[in-house]
């Protein structure tokens, strides 16, 4: 493995924090959803790094599953956002109260 595992973990951690920051600070539901997706993808990066570290394919298989689940999450999330937009006329969660 050319890239050390610790670097991969640091990268995954940074991506995770960026996603979390996006999810917490944005005032737009679609951007919040995007932030959540980035958090999931950082998990996938960490799994692939772990798979390379231990030379096991299991981690990569899990990463593929994560992609599928992230897609499902986006579709459920977008459906809910569309439904909320139709009823409220806004995608700003601050406007919902």
């Amino acid at each position: 493995m050319i890239v050390p595992y610790s670097h991969v973990i640091v990268l995954a951690g940074i991506v995770f924090l960026m996603g979390m920051f996006c999810a917490v600070t944005r005032r737009n539901l679609i951007m919040i959803l995007l932030g959540l997706e980035i958090m999931l993808n950082s998990g996938a990066i960490a799994f692939i790094g772990a798979a390379l570290r231990w030379q096991l394919l299991e981690g990569q298989a899990i990463a593929i599953f994560i992609l599928a689940i992230a897609a499902a999450e986006v579709s459920v999330g977008l459906a809910l956002i569309v439904c909320a937009y139709r009823r409220k006329g806004s995608v700003d969660p601050g406007a919902y109260n």
Partner: protein
């Protein structure tokens, strides 16, 4: 060649959800027909799960385990589904055209939770947890009326998705540091590496997903809003079946830590104390009956954590017993709630006034369920609390048990307020007698009998949960 017979409960519920998926695409189905179909299918489901209770085996290259522990929980989950379907005679809280989808999502969610309690690999745990969560998010959104459900549904979705992302990152860290993903192998390796900081961080992160499901302290904010805004039947399902599944998977995960490390136990003790205190104190001031039950769920999550953090066989078996008692007691409360609010509206506690005259059997059932939740003998709730506290005392957590006892006293106050509303208060205007169908009366009677019998003769259930807990260690 895999032995597919042991997979039959899941197959059956997959079939049920497919049936409702097809029905949701057909036009003009009467709600009564749908209700009847769902009732028959769900009752057969309980039978299928009961028939499979003694099966054991592994599936999908060992990522999926059928043992007594999982089968006992599958019976509870299918019972939960059946009981919730029993309440769907009117289903006023959900638009008529969404009824087939409602049943589809309920059965898909039950299927996912059954897969969750059988999962013994990080990947299957994650997939099953996500599948069950997505069904629940959509169910909360189905509440009829323009704005109801949207706020709470979005909140539920966003908090849930963040919790599951945290959990996934925890899985990745754990896998990266110990290179196995089978829970059985993690069980062998984890106690040796439990003093490494990264492992502790991974464990804390991955527990968040389950804490969210169970509404434990930092992740309990969704509970009151979701309980209040979801349709009454959906709330019933979230308060009963989904809590049972969450307890099951939390037991499986915490059992991995073996005898436990000091850090983990301290964290769980803190969370348990904060959770039950916040839940009970917030419940005292609630006016809405569903919000009150939401905070009482939070408090009960704290009690269950006491059993789980004891990390002994007695602790785990007491948590299993408590899951069953929560299922019965919470369901009885919601049975009364659904029947009293016949047009699907939310119910304030004062709306229960004069219930003993309007429907004596429902008032009786409510009183027994609330006594059970407060832990008054001779109900099943008392036995559950006794088992949990005994397990904690064996481990020497005296202060924890003392704080829990103080919490029980606090909780007695607001449970008794509800009982007082049902028995002693007079309604402002004269209300007509409630039209309760005979089947519901029989169900309420059976539940009362079950709660009392479970309190007086709990040996069989205790024995069963002890054997189930033994398969974990």
């Amino acid at each position: 060649m895999m032995n597919w017979i042991i997979f039959s409960p899941e197959f059956y519920f997959l079939l049920v959800s497919t049936v409702f998926l097809c029905l949701s695409m057909m036009r003009r189905i009467k709600p009564e027909q749908l209700y009847f179909t769902a009732l028959v299918l769900a009752s057969v489901g309980v039978g299928v799960c009961l028939a499979c209770v003694r099966l054991t085996g592994d599936l999908f290259s060992g990522t999926y385990r059928i043992d007594l522990f999982s089968q006992v929980f599958k019976v509870m989950l299918s019972m939960g589904l059946f009981l919730v379907v029993c309440l769907c005679t009117e289903l006023e809280g959900i638009a008529k055209r969404h009824h087939p989808e409602f049943y589809f999502l309920l059965s898909a969610c039950t299927l996912a939770m059954m897969m969750l309690v059988s999962s013994v690999h990080l990947l299957t745990v994650y997939v099953a947890l996500e599948l069950s969560s997505y069904s629940l998010y959509t169910l909360v959104f189905l509440r009829k009326g323009r704005d109801r459900g949207v706020d709470a549904g979005l909140k539920y979705f966003l908090i849930g998705a963040s919790a599951s992302a945290l959990m996934l990152f925890g899985f990745a860290l754990l896998y990266g540091s110990i290179h196995v993903a089978y829970l059985v192998e993690i069980l062998k390796i984890l106690p040796k590496v439990l003093n490494r900081p990264v492992v502790i961080i991974a464990l804390i992160l991955l527990l968040t997903g389950f804490f969210f499901k169970l509404a434990v302290f930092p992740f309990h904010f969704w509970a009151p809003d979701v309980y209040e805004s979801a349709a009454n039947q959906v709330t019933t399902y979230i308060a009963t079946a989904s809590k049972v599944a969450a307890i099951a998977i939390l037991i499986r995960i915490v059992a991995l830590a073996g005898d436990g490390s000091a850090y983990l136990v301290h964290m769980l003790v803190t969370l348990s104390i904060v959770t039950m205190t916040i839940g009970n104190l917030a419940a005292v001031v609630q006016k809405d009956f569903k919000r009150l039950l939401a905070y009482s769920s939070v408090a009960h999550a704290g009690y269950v954590l006491i059993g789980i953090l004891s990390m002994s066989q007695a602790g785990y078996s007491s948590a299993i017993f408590y899951a069953l008692s929560i299922l019965m007691m919470k369901f009885t409360c919601f049975l009364v709630l659904v029947k009293v609010s016949d047009d699907g509206r939310n119910l304030d506690i004062e709306h229960l006034a004069g219930l003993h005259r309007r429907s004596p059997i429902l008032a009786m059932a409510l009183m027994m369920a609330l006594f059970g939740l407060a832990g008054i003998p001779p109900t099943i709730g008392f036995t559950g609390k006794l088992l949990i506290f005994t397990a904690a005392m064996q481990k020497g957590y005296f202060m924890l048990v003392l704080i829990a006892m103080i919490n029980v006293v606090i909780s007695l106050y607001y449970y008794l307020l509800v009982v007082r509303a049902a028995y002693l208060l007079e309604p402002k205007e004269q209300l007509p007698e409630l039209q309760v169908p005979g089947s519901i009366k029989v169900l309420a009677g059976l539940l009362i009998f079950g709660m009392v019998a479970g309190g007086i003769f709990p040996q069989y259930i205790i024995e069963l949960s002890r054997t189930a807990a033994m398969t974990l260690m």
